[in-house]
Symmetry: C2
Subunit: 456 residues, 2 copies
């Protein structure tokens, strides 16, 4: 669908007050698509068009809206409208909503939330932002182990409409300890008088409330679960996490990795909605740090002033050496950081990785040295053999150093429980720059005599 034109059509129908036509169009759309359309709307029109939707769809759409639109709507809602929406929303979505709203709006939301739901919300709100507890919902189906399959189905039918997922059910004892897990598939394929205890899976994979979000998301990726139970320190079931939330975390964490690897301090919020000032703030710290670090490279160059004033062409190759070192280092750092993040590489593989990168460094360095040598040999006016050899050695060593730094730094970060993504391209490049420029001038001056090049 042509988004631009479609949005205009809706706008036009709204202006012409053709609500029946508008409603029938919206009814054929998915809630998230309606929400994305609404987010583009002028704020004043929002309550009007929102009220065209039937109650249930409206609540679903509300949960998908961005926080600005949600706030706008809540301010326009009557108490009754607010109660209807809050009643329909899942606990985890309500928590997300509360986290984004200003205090006065939060007060109003809590005032219109039924007491038992309010308790669940407060429960979830107390977990740290990046923990499993903050991702979970308390709306799951629990069964008793002595139920029959048909009793289980009765319970599912009775309470299922309010639960985020009904396909995985949890079996608890009196003390809320998790005894087993059973899927609706197992229930459907079993005879109706079978006992839950005999059918349930007791090899339970669950996570602690304080487990890191990223670890939780990786478990979904690995085990292909639809839902994962969350337990507290006493192994009592407190909630579940569903696969759709895990997918969102994977996307968020990946974005954060991309940002860190490009020397940006991770920021929340969408690109277009973040102000220029905020964008600048999240980028300037690393830029400043790296700029001051690059000063070392400059200081090294000043040491060799005499060398390059007597043979100025030496300077012409500095960008090429720095660029190649930086690119080689970024390649390795990226491979290793990604490998660590998807568990393809672990700290135990340190030596394997080191040897591999060293090998790749020598291979790539040699190819680059040869190609560059041919180019220099063909184009340089004088000292071509000297330059070819100096540059060749420098290139091989630079690429080797870059590849080694690119794999060692992220792994050392991991060892120190820092985020490997911080050791990406920009930092590796800056360190490589210093090493490669130093090497270059060292090699150039020490070989000058050998080739009878008049370097001071």
């Amino acid at each position: 669908m042509e988004n631009e034109n479609f949005s205009e059509l809706i706008q036009q129908l709204l202006e012409e007050r053709k609500f029946t036509r508008l409603r029938s169009i919206l009814l054929e759309m998915m809630p998230i698509d309606i929400a994305m359309l609404f987010d583009e709307f002028p704020e004043d029109d929002l309550p009007l068009i929102y009220r065209i939707l039937p109650k249930e769809l409206a609540a679903e759409v509300f949960a998908c809206l961005d926080s600005d639109s949600q706030e706008q709507l809540i301010l326009a809602f009557s108490d009754k409208e607010l109660r209807i929406v809050l009643d329909q929303m899942y606990v985890d979505d309500t928590v997300d909503l509360i986290e984004e709203m200003p205090a006065t709006v939060v007060k109003r939301i809590l005032a219109h939330t039924p007491p038992e739901k309010r308790q669940s919300i407060n429960e979830i709100l107390k977990y740290p932002d990046d923990s499993a507890g903050s991702m979970m919902t308390t709306e799951y189906i629990d069964l008793r182990r002595d139920m029959t399959v048909s009793e289980a189905f009765e319970k599912i039918r009775r309470v299922g409409v309010d639960k985020e997922t009904i396909y995985t059910c949890y079996v608890k004892d009196r003390n809320r300890h998790l005894l087993g897990v059973i899927t609706v598939k197992t229930l459907l394929l079993a005879p109706s008088d079978a006992i839950i205890e005999d059918l349930m899976d007791t090899n339970i994979i669950c996570v602690d409330t304080f487990e890191d979000k990223e670890v939780v998301a990786k478990m979904f990726d690995k085990y292909d679960f639809l839902a994962l139970p969350v337990v507290d320190k006493e192994n009592r079931l407190v909630g579940i996490i569903t696969v759709d939330d895990a997918m969102d975390v994977i996307q968020e964490e990946t974005t954060e990795d991309f940002e860190k690897m490009a020397a940006i301090m991770p920021s929340e919020g969408e690109y277009l909605k973040t102000s220029v000032f905020k964008h600048a703030k999240s980028r300037i710290v690393w830029l400043l740090f790296l700029m001051l670090t690059a000063t070392f490279t400059g200081m090294i160059i000043t040491q060799y002033e005499a060398a390059f004033t007597s043979l100025p062409i030496l300077v012409a190759f500095v960008p090429m050496i720095m660029g190649t070192g930086g690119n080689s280092g970024s390649q390795s750092a990226t491979m290793i950081i990604r490998g660590l993040s998807i568990d393809e590489i672990s700290l135990g593989d340190f030596f394997k990785v080191f040897l591999k990168e060293a090998g790749v460094g020598v291979l790539c360095g040699t190819v680059l040295a040869v190609v560059n040598g041919i180019r220099v040999y063909l184009t340089a006016d004088e000292h071509d053999l000297y330059l070819t050899i100096v540059l060749g050695i420098t290139l091989i060593m630079t690429v080797l150093i870059a590849k080694i730094l690119g794999c060692v730094l992220p792994m050392v970060a991991k060892l120190l429980h820092l985020d490997p993504a911080l050791m990406a391209g920009p930092l590796v490049t800056t360190i490589t720059d210093t090493c490669s420029v130093l090497l270059y001038f060292l090699i150039a001056s020490s070989m000058a005599n050998m080739f009878g090049v008049p370097l001071i």
Copy 2:
């Protein structure tokens, strides 16, 4: 669990032939964990330990093994064993298996696959590697629209055990056209004599067999589906894609983006299992290209030989300018590429993005110019005002150019239907280098007179 020690324990039990103990340990593990353990094992022990597992679990583990272990096992299997595994495996897993095996093994696999499954496999194999068709499975539950809920449950009970998901069922007409979708949740919450046609959802989101994998994965992320129907050109239902496969695609595509953005040609296969030669091959092309491109920057420097031989300190700032430009450009390119990839930014936002980046560029550039100015003013022996001003202007303009290139290049790539990830850090850096060095020397030489600096 301590992976290292655990693996040793298993090895020891195997050597001591304590199969009962071994079996009871394995039975408490998830199939994927058993598979990861087996992948570490010496190839010769693999068939032995595999045969300890009960049939069904064995087949599940087999589907999770890496292709080397799978091949090893197939070679050791009797025809009967092979048939059992193939019988238990889902069609999409079998397709993945076939794609990795050598021709002789494929022949043997197909010979022991039941005819109707073989047909489905051949169907899927004919779709291109990165299409929805290649991701799908043909094992879904289809219902007729005139069935009652209890008839539907009967069918699910009858055929469900072989289906990859039973939770979303598909309603087709006689010509296999998709009429509607219905979830087991809806079925469970409906009265048993209700008719499917009245319950099913007819707002169907489906994908074409030739749709790009990445687009499919994004749809899962957006709509929070558990399964998505795949239709052919005539709108006939040919298969479904499940959320676990979508998650794998998201991870693969992200890895590919990371690689492309670090100037690596995407390669398949895990890091540790790829040879040094292959790693080098996927990295050398971009390194060569970028090295030769960096020559332009070198050529510019040679043009200003006279300038820097008369004021050598000018050269000392080249690394700092190049580094800052490169880092600034990488930051923008990364933000924009990621934004485009998760649909936070679209081509229609071009001017908004351009202005934002330009603003960020001026802000960051100014801060850097001031900090650098203070440093130079405090440390330089002579010409400090001249250097402060020249470097200040150069820094602001360099950061501005880098930020603009960093947002324009990925968006232009997208416009030309190229992958924006190709326009990442390394390329932006190389182009920025050339511009910034040129600018630097231009500004330095044109302002020399003004400050009475003896530049030739």
